[in-house]
C-alpha cells in the first residue's frame, strides 16, 4: 500500500507542471462491487513527440495514399479513335495533388491535362487550383485553373472549373455524372460535359461563348469494383461560333458514336 502511494506521488511529480494546485485525489466512496482501481504505472514512457508516438503506435490517420482511376479507357467508333479520361491522386484526407487527363488519339490527337492542388474545403466540396495544358488540334495552350469538385445532392459527381489563359483567354468547363444501379454489378453512367470560352481562338477552331456539349451513356459491368468493362454511346455537339467555324471548314457540328472500354482503378 505504501509502495503504491509512493508510486502515485512519483507519477504526480512527473506529471506536474508549474502550477502546484493539485487537490488531494478524492477516493471513490461506497463501492458496492469488488472493483479495485489499478496501481499507478511503475514505468512511464518518456515524453514523445506526436510523430514518435504515431510511429510507435503504427497508427497514422494522416497518411497519404495514391490512386489512379481510368473513368474512361475506350475505343470510339468514329475515326477509330482511342480515348481516355483519367485521374491520379496522391495525398491525405484534406490535401492532395491531382492529375487529370482527358483526350483522344486519332487522326487529330488532342488532350487536356491538368495538374491541380486539391483541398477539402467543405462537407462535400474540394477546391482545386493549378494549371491546364491543352495539346493538339492547333497550337498548345496553357491556362491557370481554379474550380470545385464534389458530390452534389442526389449523388451527382460535379466539377466546375474556370480557366484563365494568356492573351486574355478564359474558359469554363462543367461536368456532371451519376451512377444508376440496375444490380450490384450492372451500372449505367450518364454524363454531361460542357465547355465555354471567353473569346475566339481561331487557331484552335474555338469560338467565344458555349462551344460544345458532350453527353455519354455508359453501361458497365463491375466484375469487381476495380475492374469494369463497358459499352455505350458518346454524343457531342458544337454550338455558337465554334459550330459556325466547323461548318465553314466542312466538319460536322455533332456526332453520335458507339464506344466500348474499360473503367478501372488501382
Amino acid at each position: 500500500m505504501m509502495h503504491r502511494a509512493c508510486i502515485a506521488l512519483l507519477f504526480v511529480a512527473v506529471a506536474a507542471h508549474a502550477q502546484h494546485d493539485h487537490a488531494a485525489p478524492a477516493t471513490p466512496v461506497t463501492a458496492t462491487s469488488p472493483h479495485v482501481p489499478p496501481d499507478p504505472p511503475a514505468h512511464l514512457p518518456e515524453p514523445m513527440t506526436p510523430a514518435q508516438m504515431v510511429s510507435m503506435m503504427q497508427m497514422d490517420d494522416a497518411a497519404a495514399f495514391g490512386s489512379v482511376t481510368f473513368d474512361e479507357l475506350e475505343w470510339r467508333e468514329h475515326d477509330d479513335a482511342f480515348a481516355w479520361k483519367a485521374m491520379a491522386r496522391y495525398g491525405g484526407d484534406y490535401n492532395a495533388l491531382v492529375l487529370k487527363t482527358e483526350g483522344e488519339s486519332a487522326s487529330d490527337s488532342h488532350s487536356r491535362n491538368e495538374l491541380l492542388w486539391d483541398r477539402a474545403v467543405a462537407r462535400w466540396w474540394n477546391l482545386q487550383a493549378g494549371i491546364r495544358y491543352d495539346e493538339g488540334a492547333g497550337p498548345s495552350r496553357t491556362w491557370a485553373a481554379i474550380g470545385i469538385e464534389g458530390l452534389a445532392p442526389w449523388w451527382i459527381d460535379f466539377e466546375a472549373t474556370l480557366y484563365i489563359g494568356d492573351q486574355g483567354r478564359s474558359a469554363v468547363r462543367l461536368e456532371a455524372r451519376h451512377d444508376v444501379r440496375f444490380t450490384q454489378r450492372l451500372l449505367l453512367q450518364p454524363l454531361v460535359e460542357m465547355n465555354a470560352y471567353g473569346k475566339d481562338d481561331l487557331e484552335r477552331a474555338v469560338g467565344s461563348g458555349l462551344s460544345d456539349v458532350t453527353a455519354g451513356l455508359r453501361l458497365r459491368y463491375e466484375f469487381n469494383r476495380q475492374f469494369a468493362p463497358y459499352m455505350g454511346v458518346h454524343w457531342n455537339h458544337l454550338f455558337g461560333s465554334t459550330a459556325d467555324l466547323a461548318s465553314a471548314e466542312g466538319r460536322d457540328k455533332g456526332e453520335v458514336q458507339f464506344v466500348a472500354g474499360l473503367r478501372v482503378w488501382f
Binding site: A8, P28, S33, P34, H35, P37, P38, P41, A120, R225
Partner: protein, 562 residues
C-alpha cells in the same frame, strides 16, 4: 466451382450444399481445437503462421502458433506474469481487453509502453482483481485483423454466481484473405467498395409498388439530398470476410457437446475487427448473465447483437437430445459464422437462412417523424445537440440535431423481427455502480466521420488533430456520446469502467465497450481512479486507424474544464 466453394466456406451460401467438407477444413478442424493455459506464469510467443481458411494459403499472426491464441484462464485475486516474445519482423503488443491493469501493463504502444520490438520479450505482470469473460488482442496496426487475439476467462474467487454443468468459449472473428493494408487503402480511395447491398432500380420499383410513388420519392429525396446511403451497414463485408468461431469457418463447423438438460454457459466474445454479429441459437432461449465480464440481472432472450470487443455470457439449457446451431449473422447479412452445440460429436442441425438485409431508417438519422418503425418507445429521451466547429468542416458528413437515447432500440436489422432481442435497456449490472458519487463534470463527445473520405473522428477531429482528454485523478465524470454518423460505433475506454446510465440518469450497466447506434445519445459515468495515459477509441479497427481515437490522461493535476 472454386468460386462457389469459396462462397460456401465463407458462409454466404445456404447449408443445403453441406455434403462434403473441403479437405482443408477437415485438417483445420483437427489442428485447431485450441489450447487452454492456466496458472500464474505464461509464455506467449507471437509469430507468423501459415493458414488456409478459404482454399487460399495465407499467413496469419498467431500466439503460440494458434489462431485464436490460447485461452488464458486466470483466478481472481492472483498475480499473473505473462512473458510475450515477438518472433515477427515488426513490433507487436498485447492489450488485455476489459481488464483493469496498471497503465504500463495495458499494452498500447506509444501510450502504455514502447511496444515489443522484434526478438524482444516483454513481461506483463499485474494482479487480476476482477472475474468474468474477457479477451486479448494486438494493439499494433492490423495484427488483430490477421489473427492476434484470444480469450481470457477469470474464475471468480468465490465461485460462479450461476451454476453451470459445463461451459464453452465462442470467440467470433472476421478473417480476410486480402492484406488489411490493401483493404484500408481501398476504403480510403473508394469507401463503398465492399458494399454489395446497395439500392438498385429494382428496389426503387419495388418500393414504389408497395409504398407508393410519393412516399418512395420522399424517402429517396431525404437520403439523396443528405448524400447518405441507407445500406451503409458495414465498411468491410462478407465480400472479403470469412466469419470464424474459434478459428473455424462455417464449413469447419466448430462443435461443442452438452448433456441433455444440462445448464451450459457460453462465453461469447466478438474478437472481430469490423463485424457486428447478431447471435441466436434456434430452438434455445439464452439467459444473459454477464455483459463485458460483469454479472447482470439474468435476462432471457432469443437473440442479441454483439459489437466488436463486447463479451456476453449466456446460459442455455438444451432440453432435447438433438444438435443446435449457434448462428451469428453479420449485421449487413453478407455472411455468417456458425457453430454447433450437440449431444454427441458429429451431429449438426439445420443452418437458418440469413435474415433479409435491412436499411437504415429515419430513427437512425435522428428523425422521428414519419417513420420510426420500431415499436418500443419507452425510455426515450431526445436532446437538442450542439456541435463543435470542426463538425461543420470538410471532415464530417452529417450532424444529428435531435439525437435520442433509445437504449431499448435493438438496432437496424433487429427491429420488430418477431424475436425477443436484447437491448442495453435490458442490462442491469448486479451490485450497483463502482462509485455512488454524482458526476461533477460532463464531457460530451460526438462520434463523427465522413463516409466519402473514409475519415473518422471525435468532435470532427482525428487523433492527430486533437489534444488528449484530461481526467482529474479521483473524479467522477459523465461522458456523453452523441453519434453524428450513420454507422454504429463500439467505443472502448481503456483502464476505467464505463457505467452506462438510463435516460433518467440511473445506473444501468457497467461495460468496457459501449455501442452507440446512429443518431443515438448515450451517457456513462467514469471514475478516474486509474493514473496514467490511456487509449480511448472506436473498436472498429479501420475507424480507429482512420482517426477515431483519443488519448486520455488521468493525472492529479489535470487542468480540466469544469
Amino acid at each position: 466451382m472454386i468460386h462457389s466453394r469459396r462462397r460456401f466456406v465463407q458462409g454466404v451460401a445456404g447449408a443445403a450444399g453441406l455434403l462434403v467438407l473441403p479437405r482443408f477444413a477437415m485438417t483445420a478442424l483437427q489442428a485447431a481445437r485450441g489450447s487452454v493455459l492456466s496458472g500464474t506464469q505464461f509464455d506467449l510467443e507471437i509469430g507468423e503462421l501459415p493458414v488456409n481458411y478459404t482454399g487460399a494459403a495465407r499467413t496469419a499472426v498467431a500466439v503460440n502458433a494458434q489462431v485464436p491464441g490460447p485461452q488464458l484462464r486466470w483466478r481472481q485475486g492472483e498475480e499473473v506474469t505473462i512473458r510475450v516474445t515477438n518472433r515477427l519482423a515488426v513490433s507487436t503488443s498485447i492489450h488485455w481487453h476489459g481488464l483493469i491493469v496498471p497503465a504500463d501493463m495495458d499494452g498500447v504502444p506509444g501510450i502504455s509502453f514502447h511496444g515489443i520490438a522484434p526478438g524482444e520479450t516483454f513481461t506483463y505482470r499485474f494482479r487480476v482483481n476482477q472475474s468474468g469473460t474477457y479477451w486479448y488482442h494486438a494493439h499494433s496496426r492490423f495484427q488483430e485483423q490477421v489473427g492476434l487475439y484470444g480469450s481470457i476467462v477469470v474464475e471468480p474467487r468465490d465461485g460462479e454466481r450461476h451454476r453451470a454443468d459445463r461451459e464453452h468459449v465462442l470467440l467470433l472473428s472476421d478473417w480476410t484473405d486480402r492484406d488489411p493494408e490493401q483493404l484500408y487503402r481501398a476504403l480510403k480511395v473508394h469507401p463503398g467498395i465492399f458494399n454489395y447491398g446497395k439500392r438498385t432500380v429494382a428496389d426503387f420499383a419495388h418500393d414504389v409498388d408497395t409504398r407508393g410513388w410519393s412516399a418512395t420519392m420522399a424517402e429517396r429525396s431525404m437520403w439523396n439530398r443528405m448524400r447518405m446511403d441507407p445500406t451503409d451497414l458495414a465498411d468491410v463485408s462478407g465480400h472479403v470476410y470469412t466469419y470464424l468461431i474459434n478459428g473455424q469457418t462455417p464449413a469447419g463447423n466448430w462443435s461443442a457437446t452438452f448433456g441433455r438438460g444440462e445448464r451450459v454457459r457460453l462465453r461469447i466474445i466478438n474478437g472481430s475487427s469490423m463485424t457486428f454479429f447478431d447471435v441466436r441459437i434456434p430452438g434455445l432461449q439464452m439467459t444473459v448473465v454477464a455483459a463485458d465480464g460483469q454479472d447482470v440481472e439474468p435476462v432471457s432472450v432469443d437473440e442479441f447483437r454483439i459489437s466488436p470487443a463486447e463479451t456476453y455470457d449466456v446460459i442455455v439449457t438444451p432440453a432435447d437430445d438433438r444438435p443446435y446451431t449457434f448462428f451469428a449473422q453479420s449485421m449487413d447479412r453478407s455472411g455468417y459464422a456458425r457453430a454447433t452445440l450437440t449431444p454427441r460429436p458429429g451431429l449438426e442441425a439445420a443452418v437458418p437462412a440469413m435474415d433479409v438485409r435491412d436499411t437504415l431508417s429515419m430513427a437512425d438519422m435522428g428523425m422521428t417523424h414519419g417513420g420510426m418503425d420500431h415499436g418500443a418507445h419507452a425510455g426515450h429521451s431526445m436532446t437538442m445537440a450542439t456541435h463543435a466547429p470542426a463538425e461543420h468542416g470538410p471532415g464530417v458528413d452529417m450532424t444529428v440535431d435531435m439525437p435520442s437515447t433509445r437504449l431499448d432500440d435493438p438496432g437496424v436489422g433487429l427491429r420488430n423481427n418477431g424475436r425477443r432481442v436484447l437491448t442495453y435497456a435490458d442490462l442491469h449490472s448486479l451490485g450497483g455502480p463502482i462509485d455512488a458519487r454524482a458526476p461533477a463534470r460532463e464531457i460530451e463527445l460526438h462520434l463523427t466521420g465522413h463516409m466519402e473520405r473514409f475519415l473518422w473522428s471525435f468532435n470532427g477531429e482525428k487523433f492527430s488533430e486533437a489534444e488528449p482528454l484530461r481526467f482529474r485523478y479521483g473524479e467522477r465524470l459523465r461522458i456523453v456520446l452523441v453519434n453524428d454518423s450513420m454507422m454504429t460505433h463500439p467505443i472502448h475506454l481503456h483502464g476505467m469502467w464505463s457505467e452506462v446510465e438510463s435516460p433518467d440518469s440511473a445506473f444501468q450497466v457497467r461495460k468496457h465497450t459501449v455501442t452507440v447506434q446512429p443518431a443515438q445519445r448515450l451517457s456513462y459515468l467514469v471514475t478516474a481512479d486509474a493514473l496514467g495515459r490511456w487509449a480511448y477509441h472506436c473498436h472498429l479497427l479501420y475507424h480507429m486507424e482512420a482517426g477515431m481515437f483519443r488519448e486520455v490522461i488521468v493525472a492529479a493535476d489535470a487542468k480540466v474544464r469544469a
